[in-house]
């Protein structure tokens, strides 16, 4: 964990969630400090995507508490749109708005949510598109871009809101292999710039390179929550060992 940090940016305490009688999240607790990069991994169906969607209130949870930047996500009086505007999220399937151009995708929420002027929003959008190397594509529609390009636009769109933290939900798992790196490069840069990040991914190379901590989930539980060095080095639970051996030596 980076040094000299104040209280956690994201704190998850005893969160449980059920679909009917099926428990998808079982008493999950962890925290992400400001500037920290936490990778969440685990087999499919382990609840990792559900957990990260709970962080900005896209998925409701029945028990426990999640506090983001001092605001309780599940609180009855919480202004969820306002909270979400401060937390960027990137999805597995990009979820760019197909009926809008790249630039419109980047400016919509800036104007409607943050109340920026059109010009300010376009300026910001232009800078971010340059940052992800897509300035030339500003007037294209998402369908005209490759998957990797779309995901980079999605990252730029999330950054356009000046978020205090970024959530990534399997950002590379819908991509063709040759496009994974262009997205990871953007994420690595973001991590190096000090962004607080919670990343659901199986990209262990990314975890080794920039993560501070790795969380391993299975069957709705947080089984491991270790500093990166310990996760990849020291002995750990059998389930995590099995999982790592599967995804590292295939």
């Amino acid at each position: 964990m980076p040094e000299n940090l104040p209280g956690p940016m994201i704190s998850i305490r005893g969160v449980s969630k059920w679909y009917g009688t099926f428990e998808v999240l079982a008493d999950c607790s962890t925290a992400v400090a400001k500037g920290e990069v936490v990778v969440v991994c685990g087999p499919s169906g382990s609840g990792k995507s559900t957990l990260i969607k709970c962080v900005n209130g896209l998925e409701p949870f029945q028990k426990g508490e999640i506090v983001v930047d001092g605001i309780s996500v599940g609180g009855e009086k919480t202004d969820l749109p306002k909270l979400r505007a401060r937390v960027g999220m990137v999805f597995q399937h990009f979820e760019l708005f197909p009926h809008m151009t790249v630039m419109e995708n980047l400016t919509l929420a800036q104007v409607k949510v943050l109340g920026r002027s059109k010009d300010e929003a376009v300026d910001k959008g232009t800078k971010l598109l340059e940052r992800v190397g897509l300035a030339a594509h500003r007037d294209k529609f998402p369908a005209q871009l490759s998957g990797g390009q779309q995901q980079r636009v999605a990252i730029a769109r999330a950054l356009s809101m000046d978020p205090v933290a970024m959530l990534f939900d399997e950002p590379t798992s819908a991509l063709d292999p040759e496009m994974i790196n262009e997205v990871l490069d953007v994420m690595v840069q973001l991590a190096k710039d000090g962004m607080t990040m919670m990343v659901v991914t199986h990209e262990m190379g990314f975890a080794r390179k920039v993560a501070h901590r790795v969380i391993f989930m299975d069957k709705g539980q947080i089984v491991e929550d270790l500093p990166k060095e310990d996760f990849f080095g020291k002995p750990r639970s059998e389930r995590a060992q099995l999982f790592l051996s599967k995804i590292l030596h295939h």
């Binding site: 896209l58 749109p81 979400r84 929420a109 949510v113 529609f141 999330a158």
Partner: protein
């Protein structure tokens, strides 16, 4: 009886189109606009997580779709004046005239059908689109207005237009309240001059040409506007 009398058609053309067709087209276009608006509201209610709203909209749609249109036209024609009087605190029924009565009827009736189309359209939008709208801090109305409805509307445009073509034909039922739509106008000429074969044949041809022409356009449009995902 004599042969097919082309002249009666020719001489009544201005009346048929300037009075009858104008009524029909105005009624169709306004009912479509109103129907799509209320239909969209109903669709959002039906998909709402508030059970009462969903049940209300569902009940309304099922009611409208289970009653013959002619009956609804009658019903509104005779009932609306009483409702009007009740709202305006007048002693006597407040007649609206055939046009406004028909407009209200068709808007309310078609809203039920447009509702089901818009509901399918809204449901066709992947959940992730809503999530990404919310994740950016947009609220329900902004997400609906900027992300879900524009896409739903575009996806459903061919079906909405096809429903409108049906509406265009159905407006001819206003003859039961003696409104002078296209069919009503032709019917008046037919009865006055006793030229039923000529007038009703001509009316059929005009309805066919317009409806078939529009259907063809809709099919072309369908091929062009499909949103590439």
């Amino acid at each position: 009886m004599g042969g097919f009398d082309w002249e009666v058609i020719e001489t009544s053309l201005p009346y048929l189109f300037k009075v009858g067709m104008v009524f029909t087209v105005t009624l169709t276009v306004l009912s479509m606009a109103g129907g799509i608006f209320f239909g969209t509201v109903l669709a959002m209610m039906r998909l709402s997580r508030f059970r009462t709203l969903a049940a209300l909209a569902g009940g309304y749609v099922n009611l409208m779709r289970s009653i013959p249109l002619v009956l609804v036209i009658f019903w509104f024609f005779f009932l609306v004046p009483y409702i009007g009087a009740w709202i305006l605190h007048e002693d006597r029924p407040h007649p609206l005239g055939p046009f406004y009565s028909a407009l209200i009827t068709f808007t309310m009736f078609e809203a039920a059908y447009y509702c089901e189309i818009m509901r399918a359209g809204i449901q066709s939008i992947p959940r992730g689109q809503v999530w990404s709208g919310y994740a950016l801090g947009l609220d329900y109305w902004q997400t609906m207005g900027h992300i879900v409805l524009p896409q739903a509307f575009r996806n459903m445009l061919p079906v909405l237009l096809t429903q409108t073509i049906i509406l265009f034909q159905d407006t001819s039922l206003v003859y039961v309240i003696s409104a002078t739509d296209f069919l009503g106008a032709a019917s008046k000429v037919a009865n006055r001059d006793y030229r039923l074969v000529e007038m009703y044949s001509f009316v059929a041809v005009v309805y066919f040409v317009i409806s078939f022409g529009l259907s063809t356009l809709v099919r072309r449009l369908q091929a062009r506007i499909a949103v590439v995902r």
